[in-house]
Amino acid sequence: MMESAPFNLRRIIIWLGRLVLGPIFIYAGYSKTFLPNHFYWPLPMLKFSIAANLSNFGFQVDSYKLLPPAGVNFVSHTLPFAEILLGLLLLIGWRLHIWGTIVTLLLAGFVFGVTRAYLLHMNINCGCFAIAEPVSVKKILEDCAMLLLAMLMTVFSFQQSRQPHPWAAAEKSHA
């Protein structure tokens, strides 16, 4: 009979990371693409709606004054979709160490951007979700908490990826 994998702290953190960060990333990407303008029909209006939301997000990226116009355009048109994809991959859990690393790097970038904006007293919105949230200590703490979780999840998933799967190990021993 197959044994369940040992339920230790490492697995708890990995599961927590996947279940918390996955939905947050999916919602962040969704809200940047489909909110605050949400015309879903007819199709040209949906297209306008998405373009307007990405344009709005582009302005928020630009307000950090970190990237040239081409960079702002690239980030605003790719990041929301990348966030949705990464969120789904975290939930699926396949090759977690790879996607965990990317999520950690992204979150480190967010923490850097938000902290820098706060230090420079920039009167800007965070741009994390569709709603206008000014850059604040609360926002920095939230991002740091997510970064910490992502780091732990990534370190543990790297450790786990080096070990044979408990089911595979059990089958080998039976053989």
Partner: protein, 268 residues
């Protein structure tokens, strides 16, 4: 322990204890990560606390200086018209803050706050081009609505000056000056100086008298109430009304090229 595919609490606690003893090296790594993050965060907060407190108090005192005083308001009140008009079912439009042909196929209302960066971006890029390509060609009737947010110290003052300037026919030039110099006056609170820099002394005198009298405040208040009824949840919010009664709220900053696609569809 034979407990296939089940979360067994005994197993859970045994595993945690096992983990704590066995993975000493890993624990050290994690602890180092947590400590580094906590140190960095606490350092940042300590550095930030003082300058922010100072900025907040300075802004409050500057706002008090910039706001019109009660004694100046008691001076002679200039005669102004508070009459509003309705165009295609859009009510309470101050004609001094509206541009274009009333028979245009589209009425576009823009709710903005003079201290909001996204509103500045919308005004300096998108709205200017809409004025050139749609308003001046009689395709769009553009209505500027004031929606000063509580969170901005000088928004209300800027709205008062802009409204007063609109009533002496200097709306565009003053709005442009306020938005283009937003970063400067939001730091020092010098809204009056910014407005004075683009008006003649005679015009500035008229504007100042209107601001001091607070005669136009009901019009600003009406715009705010209208916005709250929409509801406007963030600035800028543009509402595009068509002849057939359809309304399309566009929230946040939108580039001209994107807005153009919507205007081309509805301005037929």
């Amino acid at each position: 322990m034979d407990c296939p595919n089940l979360l067994y609490f005994g197993e859970l606690f045994a595993s945690i204890t096992h983990f704590a003893l066995e993975d000493f090296v890993n624990r050290r790594l994690i602890l180092a990560l947590v400590a580094a993050l906590a140190l960095g965060l606490s350092g940042t907060l300590i550095v930030l606390a003082a300058p922010h407190a100072q900025t907040a108090s300075t802004k409050k005192s500057l706002a008090a200086k910039s706001a019109p005083t009660a004694s100046s308001a008691a001076q002679a009140t200039p005669q102004v018209s508070l009459a509003t008009i309705s165009v295609d079912g859009v009510n309470d439009i101050d004609p001094n803050k509206a541009f274009g042909n009333k028979n245009a196929s589209v009425v576009m209302e823009i709710y903005s706050d003079f201290q909001c960066p996204a509103c500045r971006q919308l005004f300096t890029t998108t709205t200017q081009r809409v004025m050139d390509n749609y308003v001046n060609t009689n395709k769009v009737y553009l209505v500027h609505r004031d929606f000063p947010l509580q969170m901005h110290a000088y928004s209300r003052v800027a709205s008062s000056y802009s409204r007063a300037a609109a009533h002496i026919g200097k709306c565009e030039v003053v709005e442009q000056a306020l938005f283009q110099n937003q970063e400067r006056w939001e730091q020092n609170g010098d809204v009056k100086g910014t407005v004075a820099s683009v008006l003649s002394p005679a015009d500035m005198k008229k504007v100042q008298a209107l601001v001091d009298s607070k005669a136009l405040e009901p019009l600003i208040q009406k715009d705010v109430q209208f916005g709250q009824a929409v509801p406007v949840n963030q600035t800028p919010t543009s509402i595009i009304h068509t002849k057939d009664g359809q309304s399309y709220p566009v929230v946040g900053y939108v580039s001209y090229d994107v807005l153009k696609t919507l205007l081309e569809q509805v301005a037929k």
